[in-house]
Every structure is written in C-alpha cells, then in structure tokens.
C-alpha cells in the first residue's frame, strides 16, 4: 500500500512535465497577441513591439519555454502580464474561496445525494423513490445560473436574508454552494440508487437476508459500502471540476473564484496566469484521482494495489 502511494506520487512528476509542455504549447498557439491586447486600441505598431520586447514575447518559443521551466523549478510562477501582480498572489487570493466553496458543495451534495439514493433504492418504484428521483432529475435539469438568479430574487431581494454576492461573510457561500451542488447531488443520488439496487440483488445479500439480518443491517452493514465505488468515482470527478471554478456561478454571485480568473486571463492572453492555473488544475485532478483510487481499496478490500 505504502509502496503504491509512493509510486503514484513519483509518477506525478513526469506527468506534470508533459502537462506543462502541452499547456505552454497550447496557450502560445492559440491566436491572440497579449502585447496588443494590453496596449489597448490606441497603440501603434512601435508601442506594441516595445511591449512585446519588454515581456520577452519576441524571443523564440523554445527560449520562452526554457525560461518558464527555469522559473518554475525555482518556485517562481512569474507575474501577470497585465497587472504585474505575482501569479502566486493572484491565485492565492482566489484558491482559498474556491476550495472552500468546492468542499462545501461536494460535502452537502454527497450527503444528501447518497441519502436520497439509499431511500430510493430501498423503496424502489414506490413513492419515496419517485420523490427522490424527481428531486434528482430536477437537480440535473435546472441550469445552475437559473437556480442562482431565482435564489437571489427570493433570499436577497424579497427576504433580505442573504447577500446577493461577494464573500464578506460566510453567508456569501450558501447560495453559490447550493447552485453548484444541486446537479452533483442529483447525479450522486442516481448513481447510488442504481448501484445499490444492483448490489441488493447479489447472492451475498440474499444469504444475509436468509440468515435473518434486518434490512438496515443489510443495507448499511453489507450492501452500501461496495455500492459506493461508482459513486466515489463520480464524486471525485465532479470535485475536480469544482476546484477549477465555475464561471457561471462565480459570475452570478460575484464570487472571486478560480473560474473567473481563468476566463479573464485567457481573454487577455495573460500567459503566466493561464499557465499556472492550468498546471494547478492538472495537479488537483491527478491528486483527486489518486485519492479516489485509494478509497476504492477502503470500500472494497478485495481491490489490491500491488
């Protein structure tokens, strides 16, 4: 087990190397000239070239890549082309709120989703199941920006309970996390239900029942754990996406998260910021995947890691 973890962590390094190269190439191949976008509409060619020179954008691409990697190895992510703010600072200010929002969203979505899934599985095709699945379908079908706007109308404008946006207090996290988590909750509910329904048909469950175990013991003691494997996979994947930020929800709630930073930097072709953010997302995804893989073993001890 330990060996496996060490091996996986060591494997991240070459992977990130490849990722960094692809990201660099991809960003620089996308049309758009940061110097021109920064210089603004009044600028003439002379000024654009001066800005290019100052940002070393006039150097050959391979040299820019070497400089970038060199800086990266020295722990220097560079500074934003546009604002001259160090990238670490720009991302640092956004990642904490984004992380908190992601954790909160996935936490409630997991809890409620799994619960609805269990209830639906046990009461398959009866009214609790129907209610649960209607909730799930609604959660998936309601667009999150719509849900966000409706919540603002009710809780901020009409009732005056919550701020329309921003994160000055903890209240600012509530509505965004509901908007973000609703779809995930629904997805988890459906996965839990179908997986649990399958498991409840298995032989070992029938054996358990014939031995006279109660329904609760069977579901929680035997069936649920192994049913959660697909659920954890989905939740892990969704959590990875959440960490990347959601442009729509961040926009509706003026939430200072990673998604808006990324889209603004892409629009301005702010290479250092885009590079650092994409590297971070890749890293987060790799890490979440590793954790999911380790959870498999916990959920089903038959899964071995050697």
């Amino acid at each position: 087990m330990k060996k496996y973890i060490v091996k996986r962590i060591l494997g991240i390094i070459p992977l990130l190397f490849v990722v960094s190269f692809l990201i660099f190439l991809f960003i620089h191949l996308v049309p758009g000239d940061p110097a021109r976008l920064i210089a603004g509409k009044d600028a003439d060619l002379q000024q654009i070239n001066a800005i290019k020179h100052q940002l070393h954008l006039d150097e050959p691409l391979y040299k820019q890549y070497i400089d970038y990697m060199n800086n990266l190895f020295h722990g220097n992510l560079g500074e934003s082309i546009k604002s001259k703010v160090p990238v670490s600072e720009l991302i640092g200010e956004r990642i904490v709120p984004s992380l908190e929002l992601s954790l909160l969203s996935i936490a409630w979505a997991m809890v409620i989703g799994v619960l609805i899934g269990i209830i639906s599985a046990i009461f398959k095709n009866r009214w609790p199941d129907n209610i649960g699945m209607i909730t799930a379908v609604s959660g998936i079908s309601l667009p999150n920006f719509w849900l966000g706007l409706v919540m603002i109308q009710i809780f901020s404008v009409k009732l005056g309970l919550l701020p329309t946006g921003g994160i000055e207090t903890w209240k600012g996290y509530l509505m965004p996390s509901i908007a973000l988590g609703a779809g995930i909750m629904a997805m988890i509910a459906r996965f839990t239900r179908s997986s649990l329904v399958q498991t409840l048909k298995e032989d070992f469950i029938r054996t358990g029942r014939s031995r006279g175990y109660s329904g609760l013991t069977i579901v929680f003691g035997h069936a649920l754990r192994s049913s959660l494997i697909p659920v954890v996979t989905v939740a892990g994947l969704q959590f990875g996406f959440l960490l990347g930020g959601s442009i729509v929800v961040e926009t509706v709630f003026s939430f200072p998260g990673m998604g808006r930073l990324l889209i603004n930097s892409i629009q301005m072709r702010d290479y250092p910021v885009v590079q650092a953010e994409l590297m971070l997302f890749s890293f987060e995804f790799i890490l979440v995947n590793l954790i999911v893989d380790l959870l498999y073993g916990f959920l089903n001890p038959k899964i071995r890691y050697d």
């Binding site: 001066a50 546009k82 200010e93 909160l104 404008v157």
Partner: protein, 525 residues
C-alpha cells in the same frame, strides 16, 4: 411493511442530523474564509461595477474601469470636468507659446502626495521621465509621443517642450497622472498594487476579483472634499445581480445599468436612473480596398438601407442617438453632418447604378458577446433588403484581433465588415480620427480597418495637429468629418448612452462620456 416504516423513520432522523452537520460545516468554513465583514458606516459608499480592475498604475492603464479608480487616487496637471472640458487640476494655470511648442505650467502649492511627500516640479519631471524612459513600453508613452523634453523652471513651474505642435496635447495630459516619486522608487513596477497619488481618495485594499477599497484622503488640497469616508468598488459581472444590489442596499451606485432594467428601476421611489451621453460610437467598417466595398455608391447605399432609429430601438433598447458624424457630439471639434436617412428606394437605386442590383454576399465580423451578436443580426436583416447576404462571423476578442492585425499588407486583409465601437480615451479629435481614418493607420499599425485612404483627409489630419489656431483646427476637422462622412467608409450607426443608477441619498457620483466614474464630489444626504 412495518420494517420499511422503521427504516424510513431512521432515515429521516439521519437526514436531519446530516443537514444540521452540513449547516455547521458552513459556519466553520466561513470562519476560515477570512474576509472581514465590512461594517458599512454612515459615510461609506459602495459602487458596483461590471468588471475586475486590472491595474492601478495610471501610466499603464487602458481599460476605462481601472481609469475610474486611478482618477480617484491620482490627479494630472489638467483634467476633465463633467462635460469633458479641460480644467487645471494640479496646475493652477498654463500657457502655450505662440509656436505651440512650449507648454508652461504653474503648479499648485502646498499639495502633498498621500505618503506625505511634496508635490513640486521635481515630482512632475520624475513622472514624465518614467514614462519616456520606458521606451514605449508604458501605455502612457503613447500620449507623449511628441514630447521632447521637460524643463524645471523653478520649484513650482515646469515647461514641456514638444518636437512639433500637437493640438491634442492638453487632452493627452489629462491621462498623465502624477505618482509620488518616493512611492515609484520604493515600489517600481509594483506601483499598480500600491498606488500613491494626490487625489481625493487613498488606497486601502484591493481584493483581486472582488473589491477595491479606497478611503478619504484627509490632507486633500481641495478643502471640503471628499465628503464621504470610504468607497468600496465591487466587481459584479452579472447584470441582474448589480441591479439587485441596488435594490437590497448593498450598492449605492451601479454602472453600467443594463438597458432592460431601466423601466423597472424607474418605478422605485428611492432610486434614480441617470442617462448621460457618451463618446462611444458604434459602426461597421467597410473594407474600401476590397470589392464591392471599393465602390462609394455601394457604401452609401448600405448607409441608406440601414434604419438607424430602428437600430437604436432594437439593439440599444431605445437608449442612444444616431451617429451623425465620424465622432460623438461630446468629442472635441465635432461637427454634425447630413445623415443618410433611411431610404430604401434610394439605396436600391444606388446599388443598381453600381451594378449590384442583385446584391452580393459578404462576411460581417464581431465579438462573441450577446449585445454584439444582436447588433450583427440586426444589420444582417437590414442589408438583406438590398439583397446583400451577410454571413455573421463572431470571434473571441484575441482571435478577432489576430485576424485583423496579422495581414502584412492591405491586399492580404480578409476583413470585409467589422461591427465595432470606438471611444477616444482623451476626448480629442485627433484620437477620434487619426487611428481610424489616416492611411498611416492601416492594421497592424492602427485601427483603420476600413482601409480608408483619402489624400486630402490625410493631409488635413497632419495639418490640424500642427496648427496652433483653434478656429483653424475647428474648420479643418469640420472638413475632415464632412469628407469622411460623404465617402462612407463606415456604416454609421449610433452613439451610446451611458446608463447608471444610484440611491437617492447619494449625490455627486457621475459617469463621464468616456465611461469613467467620477467620485470626487460624492456626498451622502
């Protein structure tokens, strides 16, 4: 059956417990959220804007929103009043020599930067030196392209010496704001995050992507100002959310106000909607170097075929006015032209004369945002009436900019029609003309995407710049506007209206024609 009821009961209890835990998770996560809850006091105001600030370095700023903030923190030797007339600010008065080459400024005395250092001729020179020594890499160097040298006459008098007369010099100087030389030395390039100027408000905190907080400069030279203690600018990109914040009291002033919300807000007693004319002009460039747009009759026909009033009604929700020149009425030396009034039969006749009775197909380019898409669809529908079939090609701004600027020569250019807008950042006629209509400004060297070339206009643009006689300049720019409007290198569409809204108790915050927000006179009643 009984068993399943028991299970249900157990589930409900667990569910309740979990919901409660989830709520308490929320609480604890907010603690680590760290954002100090801002207790808004009586004399604090909140302004909700639609974008994020990009920099607070006044010499390297190009977006209007950031300029709003630099205008609150910094001041220039001269500045604009509400109607974009030039006023002395850090200078008490100025004199321009007869040959138009020497500008002498007498500086305001007893002015201190927010860090306590003195504002004097030395400080002014340090600012000009910074811009000039950047060798064009700072955006402000564009404003000083004709500046030869800066001479300190005495502690409170400074002279700017130009290479050639430049009629828009004072307008350009409104964009050159003074940074504390001490802060410049300490911060270097990082001045954009730690701004220090002489303005009415000083910097407190900038939460990237969220808010910018400024507080009253207690030692401000213009006694009696500012009248509020703190300003918090909040970045609220979603249109509806900005309006909601005004309703809930989270914001005292919002800009821009979405057109579709105007009617709803007008019924609210405690909120006032402001409409001010802007200097933002909307148009479509027609590539005069390419068939069939090289034919003036075709271009004029297109202008006649487009119903400008319908454009304002449909695309601008009724807010705006028709573009009756090459620049907006609030721009220096504007001169009204005879508009191409909507006349379909005249348009058809001109198309026939040009040999295009059956029309042609062409591409119209534009940005991907919904407002631009709406505009392009409207133009597409209007042009179809004279058998011009337009294909809409929406591109993201960086891609679009590349598509416009990559061609090395006018003949390589792919652009046919481009739906776009322009606003001269310093409100001067040169800024509204040279980069758009001078043949020296073909892309990639400028924004003349109509590839408009008129020898007479070229000559006049240069001549007007170098003349020192204001009346002569005025008449030259009148000729320029007349010639261009007649040549019709654009589909002339409209001039935007700036829409903002504020709670009634707030006075003195307004939007200038260039779209920047002025806060010096802000007052709560």
């Amino acid at each position: 059956m009984i068993r399943s009821k028991k299970i249900m009961g157990a589930f409900l209890i667990v569910l309740l417990a979990l919901v409660l835990t989830a709520c308490s998770t929320t609480r604890s996560s907010s603690d680590s959220g760290g954002a100090a809850s801002s207790d808004k006091k009586d004399k604090d105001i909140n302004i909700a804007v639609n974008q994020d600030f990009t920099t607070l370095d006044p010499h390297n700023v190009s977006d209007t929103l950031s300029i709003s903030a630099t205008h609150a923190i910094y001041e220039g030797l001269v500045g604009f009043d509400k109607d974009m007339k030039i006023q002395p600010v850090l200078a008490t008065d100025y004199k321009i020599s007869d040959d138009g080459l020497t500008y002498t400024f007498h500086l305001r005395k007893n002015v201190k930067f927010q860090d306590g250092s003195s504002f004097n001729a030395e400080a002014v020179k340090a600012n000009f030196d910074r811009i000039q020594s950047s060798k064009d890499a700072l955006i402000a160097s564009h404003y000083l392209q004709y500046l030869k040298s800066v001479k300190i006459v005495d502690d409170h008098t400074i002279q700017l010496i130009l290479n050639q007369p430049f009629s828009a010099m004072l307008n350009k100087l409104t964009m050159v704001e003074m940074i504390s030389p001490k802060a410049l030395k300490d911060q270097g390039d990082k001045i954009g995050m730690h701004p220090v100027g002489t303005g009415p408000f000083e910097f407190v905190k900038w939460n990237q992507g969220e808010s910018l907080i400024l507080k009253k400069n207690p030692n401000y030279w213009d006694k009696g100002y500012p009248k509020v203690d703190q300003i918090t600018y909040k970045s609220v990109p979603e249109n509806g959310s900005r309006v909601d914040m005004l309703k809930t009291g989270e914001a005292d002033f919002i800009y821009p106000l979405p057109e579709q919300s105007v009617q709803a807000l007008k019924t609210q007693n405690d909120i006032t909607v402001d409409q001010t004319t802007s200097n933002i002009v909307r148009y479509v460039t027609l590539n005069t170097n390419k068939k069939p747009f090289n034919d003036k009759k075709v271009r004029q026909a297109m202008n006649y075929a487009l119903d400008k009033n319908a454009y304002i009604k449909v695309v601008k929700s009724g807010f705006g006015s028709e573009l009756d020149s090459t620049m907006a009425p609030s721009t220096q030396f504007y001169s009204k032209q005879k508009v191409y009034n909507y006349d379909l039969s005249k348009a058809k006749e001109l198309m026939k004369e040009a040999g295009y009775a059956k029309g042609f197909t062409a591409e119209i380019w534009g940005d991907t945002d919904s407002a631009t898409m709406k505009g392009m669809q409207f133009i597409q529908q209007q042009m179809a009436r004279i058998n011009i079939k337009l294909k809409i090609k929406a591109m993201e701004q960086g891609t679009l900019s590349d598509a416009i600027n990559t061609p090395k020569s006018p003949d390589d250019a792919k652009v046919q029609m481009w739906y776009v807008s322009w606003s001269p950042s310093s409100g001067d006629a040169d800024g509204a003309t040279r980069g758009l209509f001078s043949s020296a400004a073909f892309p990639p060297n400028g924004s003349n995407t109509a590839y408009y070339k008129n020898g007479e206009v070229d000559k006049l643009i240069d001549k007007a710049n170098q003349t020192t006689d204001v009346e002569k300049q005025k008449s030259m720019y009148a000729t320029i506007q007349k010639d261009i409007y007649n040549d019709a290198p654009w589909l002339f569409l409209g001039v935007d209206t700036n829409l903002s809204a504020h709670v009634n108790k707030l006075k003195g915050v307004y939007v200038l024609p260039d779209g920047s927000i002025q806060v010096k006179e802000a007052e709560l009643q």
